[in-house]
C-alpha cells in the first residue's frame, strides 16, 4: 500500500539551530496517527512543514506521492487541516467562513457546505457571527472547514481542545469512522494521552526535534506485561520464579512480587507456583499505558 503521507529525512534549520532532525515517517490511508511530544518538541513545526506553511531545509514531504514543495497546489488539495487553534474570521458568520474556504477549492457545492454543517452539528448557529461562538463551537467549525473539500489526509492539531466530554467522544467516534469507513488518513496531535490512546492506531513520539519512536497501540498491549503477584511466602516464591524463569526481571514490591512476562506465560507461572505449594492470592496484570510508555521514551522529566 502506498503511504498517503511520507516524510523523508525532513530537516528544518532556523538560523543556525536545527529544529527538526531528519524526520522520516509514513501515514497510511485508513489509520489515525497520533503525534506526541513535549512542548517545543517540534510537533507543530512538523505539521507546518507538511502543509507548506513552513519551508523545508532538506528532505521531502510527499502527499499522495506529490511533493508539497514542488507542486504545492496539487499536493495540498487532498489535505484538510487545523493548525493549532481553529482561528476564523470573527466578524463573519460561520457559514460565510465556510463559504470563504469553499470558494478556494473547486467543486465544493452549497449542498456540501450544508452537509458538513450538519455533520459537525452546527445547524442552529451557523448563521451567527463567529465571535459569539464558544471554543467548542469554533473547534467544530474548524473541523467543518477541514472536511469541506473531502480531503484524503486530515491533520488536526488538538482537535478535542475546548470540547466537553460528550463532544470529545463524538469527535473521537467520528474521526474513527472517517478513517475506517471512508479511508481517510488522519494525523492527530494532542496532549491528552489517554485520549490519544483511545483514538489512534499508531503514534509517533517526538522529542527535541527527533523521532523517538513509532509504535502501534496494538503492539503496546502485546508487549511484555507487568504482572503483580500476591503470594505467600514471598521468599520461597522468589526462588521458585528464579528457578523457572532464570532471565526474568523480578522485583519484590510492597503488595507482592512484580514480574515482567508475556501474557501467555501467566498460567504457566501460576502452575509452577501452585505445584510448589505457594499460596497464590491474586494475579494482577498491570498494562502499560501510553502515558507510561511516553514518559519512558521521553525520559519523563518534561511536561507534555
Amino acid at each position: 500500500m502506498n503511504p498517503l503521507l511520507q516524510l523523508k529525512n525532513v530537516r528544518k534549520d532556523i538560523g543556525k539551530k536545527t529544529i527538526i532532525h531528519d524526520l522520516s515517517l509514513e501515514v497510511f490511508a485508513g489509520e489515525v496517527f497520533g503525534f506526541l511530544g513535549p512542548n517545543g518538541a517540534g510537533k507543530t513545526t512538523t505539521i507546518r512543514m507538511i502543509v507548506g506553511l513552513m519551508g523545508i531545509t532538506s528532505g521531502e514531504v510527499l502527499i499522495n506521492g506529490i511533493s508539497i514543495q514542488k507542486d504545492f497546489e496539487k499536493a495540498i488539495q487532498h489535505v484538510g487541516a487545523i493548525v493549532e487553534n481553529p482561528e476564523m474570521y470573527k466578524f463573519l458568520t460561520g457559514y460565510q467562513n465556510l463559504l470563504h474556504y469553499a470558494r478556494m477549492t473547486k467543486g465544493v457545492t452549497k449542498e456540501r457546505i450544508d452537509e458538513v454543517v450538519q455533520l459537525v452539528g452546527l445547524e442552529k448557529r451557523i448563521h451567527d457571527k463567529v465571535k459569539t461562538y464558544s471554543l467548542g463551537m469554533r473547534q467544530r467549525l474548524g473541523l467543518a472547514q477541514a472536511l469541506l473539500h473531502r480531503p484524503s489526509l486530515l491533520i488536526l492539531d488538538e482537535p478535542t481542545n475546548g470540547l466537553d466530554p460528550a463532544g470529545i467522544r463524538e469527535i473521537r467516534d467520528y474521526l474513527r469512522k472517517l478513517a475506517k469507513e471512508e479511508g481517510l488518513g488522519i494525523i492527530v496531535s494532542s496532549h491528552l494521552l489517554s485520549e490519544m490512546e483511545m483514538m489512534c492506531d499508531r503514534f509517533a513520539i517526538i522529542q527535541h526535534g527527533r523521532l523517538v519512536g513509532i509504535e502501534s497501540v496494538q503492539e503496546l498491549s502485546k508487549q511484555a506485561q507487568k504482572v503483580l503477584l500476591t503470594v505467600e511466602p514471598v521468599e520461597q516464591a522468589l526462588t521458585v520464579i528464579k528457578n523457572a524463569y532464570p532471565h526474568m526481571n523480578v522485583t519484590p514490591a510492597k503488595q507482592g512480587i512484580e514480574v515482567s512476562l508475556d501474557y501467555e506465560e501467566i498460567p504457566n507461572l501460576n502452575a509452577a507456583l501452585v505445584s510448589e505449594h505457594i499460596k497464590v492470592y491474586g494475579i494482577q496484570v498491570l498494562t502499560k499505558s501510553l502515558e507510561e510508555r511516553f514518559l519512558e521514551m521521553t525520559g519523563g522529566n518534561e511536561i507534555v
Binding site: R48, E73, Q77, V79, E87, M104
Partner: protein, 315 residues
C-alpha cells in the same frame, strides 16, 4: 486550483462585511455634504465677473513682462491669459466653486481622505490575517501565495475605485442638491496646440480625478508592501500616512536645493503639476513622472511578493 476571481470575491467579502468599511463610506458621504455646505455658506459671488477676469488679465500681463520667469511658468501664464481672453470674447463665466461643476472639480480634494482609507484597507489586508491567525487556514488551500497576494492587492485597489465612484456620485448628488444644475452645459476651456478649445466639463472632472489617483495608488501599494513585509497593521498605516503627509513637504524642500529630488517618489505623485502649474524641478515632464511612478510601483510590489512568497508562517 482556485481561480483568482473567487479569491478576489473572498477578499471583498472580508472588506465589506466589516463595520469599519461602512463607517468609512459614511464619513466620505459626510465629507462631501459638509464641503458643499461650507462652500455655500462662505462663497461670495463676484458682482461683475467680467471686471474680475479683466483685472486678472492685467495682472498676468504685468507678471509676464518680467524677465526672470522660469520657462514653464511663463508658458502656463500665457495659456491662462489666452483662456481668460477667450472668456471675455465668448461671454463664458469662470467656473465658480458654488456651481455643480465647480463643486465636482473641488471634490477631488477629498481623494486625500480616500487615500487614507485605502491605506487602512491595504495595510490590513495582509497584516490582519497574521494577527487574526487566519493566515494559516488561508495558505493551506490549493492557491499559490502569489495568487493570494495578488487577489488582496486587487481587492484593495477595487476598494479605492469603489470609493472614487462613490465620491463622484455623492458629490454629484450633493452638488446638484445644494447648488442646482442650471450651469450643467458650461464648457471647460482648455489650451491645446496654440488655441483655446471648449471641452466637456465631465471629461475635465474625470481627468482631475484620474490625476489625483497617482498618490492614492502609490501610497496604497506602499502600505501593502509594509503590511506584507512586517505583518503589522499599525506600522503599515503609520508609515504610509506619515509618508503621505510629510513626504511632499520634504521633497519640495529638497527640490529647491537639489536636482536629484526629481527621482523621489513624492516629486512625481502630483501629476496635476503638469496640467495647471509648474513642475517641481525644471525639466520634469509627465512621461518622466509616469516612468518614475512605474519604477516605484514595480519595486514596492516586487518586495511584497518576494517576501510573502517565501516567508515561514509561524504566527
Amino acid at each position: 486550483m482556485s481561480s483568482i476571481f473567487s479569491l478576489i470575491q473572498n477578499e471583498n467579502m472580508k472588506i465589506y462585511r466589516r463595520f469599519g468599511t461602512w463607517f468609512m463610506i459614511g464619513l466620505l458621504a459626510l465629507a462631501t455634504l459638509a464641503g458643499a455646505l461650507i462652500i455655500k455658506a462662505t462663497h461670495k459671488e463676484p458682482e461683475n465677473w467680467k471686471a474680475e477676469v479683466a483685472s486678472e488679465i492685467k495682472r498676468m500681463e504685468a507678471e509676464l513682462s518680467e524677465e526672470k520667469l522660469p520657462k514653464m511658468y511663463k508658458n502656463y501664464l500665457k495659456q491662462q491669459l489666452k483662456i481668460n481672453e477667450y472668456r471675455l470674447e465668448h461671454n463664458i463665466k469662470p467656473v465658480a466653486p458654488n456651481t455643480f461643476w465647480g463643486y465636482l472639480v473641488d471634490s477631488a480634494d477629498i481623494i486625500a481622505l480616500i487615500t487614507l482609507f485605502t491605506i487602512i484597507v491595504a495595510a490590513g489586508s495582509v497584516a490582519s490575517e497574521f494577527s487574526w491567525g487566519t493566515i494559516k487556514l488561508l495558505l493551506i488551500r490549493p492557491a499559490s501565495r502569489t495568487k493570494i497576494l495578488l487577489s488582496k492587492y486587487i481587492a484593495a485597489l477595487l476598494f479605492a475605485l469603489c470609493m472614487l465612484l462613490l465620491l463622484f456620485i455623492f458629490s454629484a448628488v450633493v452638488g446638484a442638491a445644494v447648488f442646482g444644475i442650471e450651469n450643467i452645459r458650461e464648457p471647460y476651456l482648455a489650451y491645446q496646440n496654440g488655441a483655446v478649445v471648449e471641452r466637456s466639463m465631465l471629461f475635465h472632472v474625470v481627468q482631475v480625478y484620474a490625476l489625483n489617483c497617482a498618490d492614492l495608488v502609490m501610497m496604497a501599494t506602499f502600505a501593502f508592501m509594509i503590511s506584507a513585509v512586517f505583518r503589522n497593521h499599525s506600522l503599515a498605516i503609520g508609515l504610509a500616512t506619515f509618508a503621505l503627509f510629510v513626504g511632499p513637504q520634504v521633497t519640495a524642500l529638497l527640490a529647491m536645493k537639489f536636482d536629484w529630488a526629481k527621482y523621489l517618489l513624492f516629486a512625481n505623485t502630483n501629476l496635476t503639476q503638469y496640467i495647471d502649474g509648474t513642475p517641481l524641478v525644471e525639466g520634469m515632464t509627465m512621461s518622466f513622472s509616469l516612468m518614475m511612478l512605474l519604477v516605484y510601483f514595480v519595486i514596492f510590489n516586487g518586495i511584497a511578493w518576494l517576501i510573502f512568497r517565501k516567508r515561514d508562517i509561524a504566527a
